[in-house]
Symmetry: C2
Subunit: 477 residues, 2 copies
């Protein structure tokens, strides 16, 4: 595999295929998510879906074909998405009278039904979510990160006023940050986007930004306060307590299969994937060693141990069905596929009732490979896995901090964004953002929610900053 330091892109493109996460689809820009990759998505989905439901949202399913005329009703929205649309023009053997857009996102079609379902203030808030595939035609596709078709959830809600809609927008952002930290071990930075980076049709866009191991930023989830833009375009109105008609305030928010790319690029190394236990299809793999009778004895012990570990609610795989492969090959294979914990059981271990436990990476305390009594393992593994999960988060946080620096001069800025994030003041003008991008390929990733109050002048043009804090700049995926 190409080393990360040599060509990070090449490393990524190789590892996603070798680890059997994904294959290129038959149509340019599409992907086949293979079982090992899809399981990561299912684990993320189960947790996020539970949080969405516990906060009072209901899942629904809206059609993926949207009449072209719907998109045109919100001017900024159609302008933002037009270049990326896939259009059905023929169906049932006939040319269609009105072409159908395959949804790039569902604000418009859901807006149409919100207008139908909402009459009174009693119908608000209306809290909807859907798990769906969406299509945005990609000229420079990248597996998981930018594909023509991808999977996501999209929340769409309607509220009585701005304050309630903003509470929802912030709830979604906080939830995404928690999922990223707790499941993906990604120490993301939440914050607002600048005007130049806003969602097409939004009043305010919020994001969580993660740092990848090449120092670039990945936008891993977004939450939008749409004001009354879509309410006016689709006539989403309600009668208030006095009987007067008012426009609802709406929000939308999404997290996608892009998160899988984030996991790969946050934790992976030159040996391949490193998966956080909470998203690992196999948290533990047991490899029995030995040939013939000895191999049968260790395989039997591996299966017994596997059953005991499984009964603790741990996802475990026993690699006892590939006699044609050497133990060394198997060790490398599971390391490449990112399994957090590997247990090796050799013929000489059996008499002593021990095995070797190998972590995918040595944890902070220097624990890599150790001999461990098998009888105690099922009880000890939950803590070992939790420690490994915490270790990955701390490692990613340390990496991000090492590669983030406050810069106040234009010379320092260019050097800093070549391999990390720059904390810098900015004037807030979109033209100035464009200049910075043209010169360095870096963009403002967000106005960090937790950034300390500080005044200063634009790192590029010297005009005073209106934000009252430094922005994060970096090259983005």
């Amino acid at each position: 595999m190409t080393p990360q330091s040599e060509d990070f892109s090449a490393w990524y493109n190789e590892v996603v295929v070798k680890a059997q996460l994904v294959d290129r689809g038959p149509v340019r820009g599409t992907m086949v998510i293979r079982p090992y990759g899809y399981r990561i998505w299912e684990l993320l989905q189960a947790d996020l879906d539970r949080r969405i439901k516990e906060a009072g949202h209901d899942n629904a399913c809206f059609p993926m074909f949207i009449p072209e005329s719907y998109l045109r009703r919100e001017a900024e929205h159609v302008e933002g998405f037009s270049p990326e649309l896939a259009v059905v023009t023929v169906a049932g053997g006939k040319e269609l009278e009105e072409p159908l857009v395959v949804r790039p996102t569902s604000e418009t079609v859901i807006g149409e039904y919100m207008a139908k379902w909402i009459d009174s203030h009693r119908d608000l808030p209306l809290l909807l979510n859907q798990w769906a595939n969406v299509v945005r035609w990609e000229l420079r596709p990248r597996m998981f990160l930018r594909t023509t078709e991808f999977l996501w959830q999209e929340g769409h809600t309607a509220h009585i006023d701005e304050a309630d809609a903003m509470r929802e927008t912030e709830w979604a952002l906080d939830t995404y940050a928690a999922v990223a930290r707790e499941l993906a071990a990604m120490p993301v930075v939440p914050g607002e986007k600048t005007a130049g980076e806003r969602f097409a049709g939004a009043v305010r866009t919020y994001t969580i930004e993660g740092m990848m191991r090449d120092g670039r930023a990945l936008q891993a989830g977004t939450s939008h306060y749409l004001g009354t833009n879509f309410a006016k375009a689709f006539n989403i109105q309600y009668q208030d307590e006095e009987g007067a008609l008012q426009y609802a305030h709406t929000t939308s928010w999404g997290m996608s299969t892009r998160m899988i790319g984030g996991v790969i690029m946050t934790h992976g190394d030159d040996k391949g994937l490193v998966l956080p236990p909470r998203l690992a299809p196999y948290q533990v793999v047991i490899v029995p060693i030995g040939r013939k009778e000895q191999g049968e004895a260790t395989a039997a012990e591996a299966r017994r141990l596997g059953a005991a570990i499984k009964s603790m609610g741990i996802r475990v795989h026993v690699d006892d069905n590939r006699p044609q492969l050497s133990p060394g090959f198997k060790f490398n294979d599971w390391e490449m596929r990112g399994v957090p914990i590997r247990i090796e059981i050799g013929p000489r271990d059996l008499a002593d009732g021990v095995g070797t436990l190998a972590r995918r990476l040595p944890t902070a305390e220097g624990q890599g490979k150790e001999t461990i009594p098998l009888a105690r393992l099922p009880e000890e593994l939950p803590q070992i896995l939790a420690d490994f999960q915490a270790f990955l988060l701390a490692r990613a946080e340390a990496f991000r901090n090492e590669h983030t620096r406050a810069v106040d001069s234009w010379d320092d800025f260019g050097a800093q964004v070549s391999g990390g994030w720059a904390l810098a003041f900015h004037c807030g003008r979109t033209e100035c953002e464009d200049d910075i991008k043209a010169d360095t390929a870096a963009t403002p990733r967000c106005i960090p929610a937790d950034g300390p109050a500080e005044q200063g002048d634009c790192v590029k043009c010297g005009r005073p900053s209106p934000y009252g804090k430094r922005l994060i700049f970096g090259k983005a995926y």
Copy 2:
């Protein structure tokens, strides 16, 4: 609502909208599945997904855009699906060189990847499943039953030989029958389809058929043995133990949102939906009664009881937030929406610690509405719900038996299929099936797996039957 006996179709179209299961989509033939309908799908999906995984299948996700050329590789397949295809011809602002079909089913694209992933007999069986949306352009759409876009799971597997592939085909059929019986309380009949009713590209097609309350049949799930048809079209080959190249034998099987239509038409009545507890979004609804202080006291008791019932793992809803509606309106509303059990708590009940329990239908023992001590309710409800579930299955089974009859003359045949199913002998010729359909609108639904061995002559043309048993004939959805 239109009574079922007056116009069953009108009843169906009204109830699906009034009960807030679904709305018409913006494009002809599409549907919006609303939260109350989508929850039914989620409950079915969770159970079926668990069974699919326990039997060793892995979920994956294949692209929905399929190059038109893929479909042409299997001649029968393309012929069967061509009239129903939706085609993307423009994307990213340009006319595409090769039009893309939106998947009507995924045998072709999955076949392409099976060929890539399978090398050796060690790679078999390959057991894949995906949960996806598919598109088949519908000229006579009907919510849930025939819509342009619908949701389903599609299993796709590859095997070493016919025997192993047939075991898989039968496993899927048995699983569908179990899900229909145990969750949907639909006493479906499993069996093989005749040649005239086979899936386009299959060697053998199996189905589960349920009887709806108008006597028609609903095909509620299908399982196909595809032989080596797709293996030859897509070159799915493996090296056997001797090193020789062999074609794999493949299967496919699917169950869809059509099942929701089956639930509605199997159990519903003139008051509206009747939902089996295992698929009911709300298994129990509690309606507190009374105005002002009295209303506040019963609502408090309803919430306390609701929490106790919820802690038993029961899906319960407390209707305490619609003071503008009368109790009678609420009772009718929840009956129309099919909630299995309703608990009413009135002001006079509080002192006695009792409430009224009303079943959506009186069960076989004549239990409809009864006074019940609230303290015992959380413990007793699981059994009450299980009894109601069993009652619905028995009721549907009795209905089906009453409306199924063996017929041996053509005169009797026409009368029988006008409101039920006919068990009849058939010659096996597709032209004769076509004659029967032209005369009566009835088709052979299946060769019932459990039908007793019996010899006879075709009910239509008098030629001898090759099946060794009677077929089920009926009008189909």
